[in-house]
Symmetry: C2
Subunit: 470 residues, 2 copies
């Protein structure tokens, strides 16, 4: 067994430490590639990013490396490193290499694609979401091999790094189906979620789903002077406002039909963990846009509201004249973009249908209503915390972070449910970033020592899994 | 007595007919001047328009003509033609020579400032609102003088044509106060309102007032990802929607404090007239933006709703992301532009105060509210239909249009109440345009024969007034 001889109980830690410098310089190289998947002007960069990753994997010794660049999907990278023991379980690590746009670029303290290390923080677009965490797994595999002084890992490790996550993974299902044999596995390790806090590392056990749609109310063919017709014709902007106001009841519950019917509450153990996590409301508000008070569904804590309760939010509303001064019109139309965060076992299709019914019931006479789905949405996902893989993960993370860890969730959405559904295996989450990493915003950063801990946790997990999953 | 010898009972009609060609060519000249008062680039054109009018008045023989072009107000034109009898009453004709912008200019069938006669219709910006009606009064005075074959009118006629009506008459009060002596009169004849319909000419007896304000709800300093915080923070767009939804009760009544306390209903005679007017709901809807059904306060007809009932309308609403696709944010802020149409004796100041209270009561915890007045508003005005000037006006219009005329109102707003308040005299309305003249829109037009009838009515009114007001 190699690793630091002074740390015989922590061979993975020693291995990570030995590899840390290379890890950081590699990651900075990758982060310099502006793989903004949603921007067609950056298609070439997404391709270069995939190629960089494939090259890095080959340098690391992965026996099988492919760039999947046929079909409509932006390039994804697949790699496989078989276990020594052909009977060992197979794990699939999921991540993505496309990154968010960088607007407003003038608010970045360092150029977004010139990765800059400031103390323990590495700044750059994609540092946290998600190149940093994918790189963490590359490091984890190397550390695992070094710690066990073997040419092959204890489990068969597959890596699947897509290029369209920030676009809502529109081609993920066909990609999974086209590569069903390659991707066959016993467990997915999903690496695109944060720890709860630096001083409170956690195991994420689920993400909310999402469904979005735009509702448009149209009155006539043109705005009309409110002196001429005001008071005598239906006002589409007023009607949109009434629709939005009707979306919640007085207790903050969403009034779509059957919205709560399939909602599964988290286990008692998870709820106890949420309640035990350190929570400073002022800090949370400051990191959540800066409103002056929390708000939401009656009877639930803030963490429960954003992790395990479904929502209806207005993402945008528009109608009529919004320039300077007063223009006394009744607008011809008005619209609202709504999104619903979903929790197990809500289904986007069911919410879409209930929304159509709700809009029909709230369309006043004289107006025409249109409901435009904004994508198919993403189903919610929650891991079964009693699964032995979650137990192994918890042990690995606790050992790597030198402290007990609790369960948490994240209120955002991702393709975990799709991976679970198409591959037919459990999904667990292993991430080592932070909620205040400014992902999707200027000055994205990652805390490097946390990535090293995360790599150590991954390396430990690969060691533990054969026994735990047997 | 001059005039058409074949029409001894209609000397004014004969005089108008004889002057019609000159009237039309003069009006076309005036309409070619793009006096768009709200556009600073057209300041020179507003000045040229005022000068054109002053020159025309001098050509017509008005003894006193002034262009008021000192101070902040855009140039206004004042003229006075004293009565033969120094004891005769003084009337002040009010109108305006500034015009609306012409956007979208590509929707005009003829260039807006190249007045084009098509059959009986004269197309051009300002043809109806309000140069056509001011020109109608110039013609009326000439016809009056021709019909009575005298050098001076039967009443002292003053003309006051402002240049800022389309800007909301922001300097009207100081202008009136600065020229108090010049403008002293016994009656204002306000010429900026339409007939009810071509086949149903009416005497307008009032205009609604207006008060506008913008309400802004602010959450934090930035939009926040709805996955991170959605369900846990107040959403300003949802809050704005709830504020708007709360503005009306189930019967369509406005829920501001004391909103209806000072509302005076029209007289029984007026209400009977409104009910007797021809009304085709489909035609009205088509001319009112094109919604598919009428709507409004329970228990009132459409005409009552838009003429004599107060309203609260959303003129514009905005918040969050309104570009293509979905952006899952909780917006940092959201805003709504509201305007209230007011009827006698509601006061804009009272509505402003009640709105501030209403917003304060509907601001959810965690959000900051701001109420930004959009100007001072305009008070409503209604003429006393029992006043002898209204009787004289009715007789004059009935004779000119060869049919009985009913009372109507208009739902729009104007400075009639300001003229009434500052000058301390009654205001009556004499207009001869139509509600479907497309004022403030592409393809504004005026029906020339109606302007000729209107000029005849004015000429008759000047003849009738000395006896009726004695």
């Amino acid at each position: 067994m190699s690793g630091d001889p002074e740390n015989p109980e922590h061979p993975e830690r020693a291995a990570v430490a030995a590899l840390a410098d290379d890890f950081l310089s590699d990651l900075r190289e990758w982060l310099a590639i502006p793989s903004i998947g949603v921007d067609p002007a950056h298609r070439g960069d997404v391709r270069e990013s995939a190629q960089w990753l494939a090259d890095a994997l080959r340098r690391d010794g992965w026996p099988e490396v492919q760039v999947w660049d046929a079909g409509p999907a932006l390039p994804a990278v697949y790699a496989c490193w078989p276990a020594e023991d052909p009977e060992a379980p197979t794990v699939l690590v999921y991540g993505h290499h496309d990154v968010q746009p960088v607007d407003p670029v003038e608010r970045w303290r360092h150029p977004p694609f010139e990765p800059t290390l400031v103390g323990e923080e590495l700044f750059g677009r994609g540092a946290s979401d998600d190149k940093g965490q994918v790189a963490m797994h590359l490091l984890g595999v190397k550390a695992h091999l070094a710690a066990r002084a073997a040419a092959n890992p204890a489990v068969t490790i597959k890596l699947f790094v897509e290029g369209e996550e920030e676009s809502g993974s529109p081609h993920l299902v066909p990609l999974l189906d086209d590569h069903r044999a390659d991707l066959a596995c016993d467990l997915v390790v999903f690496t695109d979620t944060p720890l709860y806090a630096r001083d409170a590392p956690t195991i994420c056990t689920g993400q909310r789903g999402v469904y979005g749609a735009e509702v448009v109310f149209t009155g006539g063919t043109s705005d009309v002077h409110s002196g001429r017709a005001g008071g005598g014709v239906p006002n589409p902007a007023t009607a949109i406002a009434r629709l939005v106001a009707a979306l919640h009841d007085d207790r903050g519950r969403v009034r779509l039909r059957d919205f709560y019917t399939d909602v599964v509450e988290p286990s008692a153990a998870e709820r106890a963990d949420y309640a035990a996590l350190p929570f400073d409301e002022d800090v949370w508000l400051a990191n959540s846009g800066g409103a002056q008070a929390v708000s939401g569904e009656e009877g639930w804590s803030t963490l429960a509201r954003v992790w395990v309760r479904p929502t209806a939010e207005v993402n945008g509303i528009h109608g009529g004249y919004t320039g300077p001064g007063l223009k006394t019109i009744v607008p011809a139309d008005a619209s609202v973009k709504l999104s619903f965060r979903l929790v197990p076992n809500q289904r986007p299709e069911q919410v879409a249908e209930a929304l159509r019914e709700f809009v029909a019931a709230h369309t006043p006479p004289g107006l025409h209503a249109e409901v435009i789905p904004l994508g198919d949405g993403a189903p919610p996902y929650a891991a079964d915390v009693a699964h032995p893989a979650v137990g192994a993960l918890k042990d690995a993370v606790e050992a790597a972070f030198d402290q007990p860890v609790r369960f948490s969730r994240t209120g955002g959405s991702g393709p975990a449910a799709i991976l679970h559904d198409r591959l037919g295996v459990p999904v667990v989450y292993l991430g080592a970033t932070l909620p205040d990493d400014h992902i999707h915003a200027p000055n994205e950063r990652v805390v490097v020592p946390l990535l090293l801990r995360g790599a150590e946790a991954a390396a430990r997990l690969w060691r533990l899994l054969p026994e735990r999953l047997s």
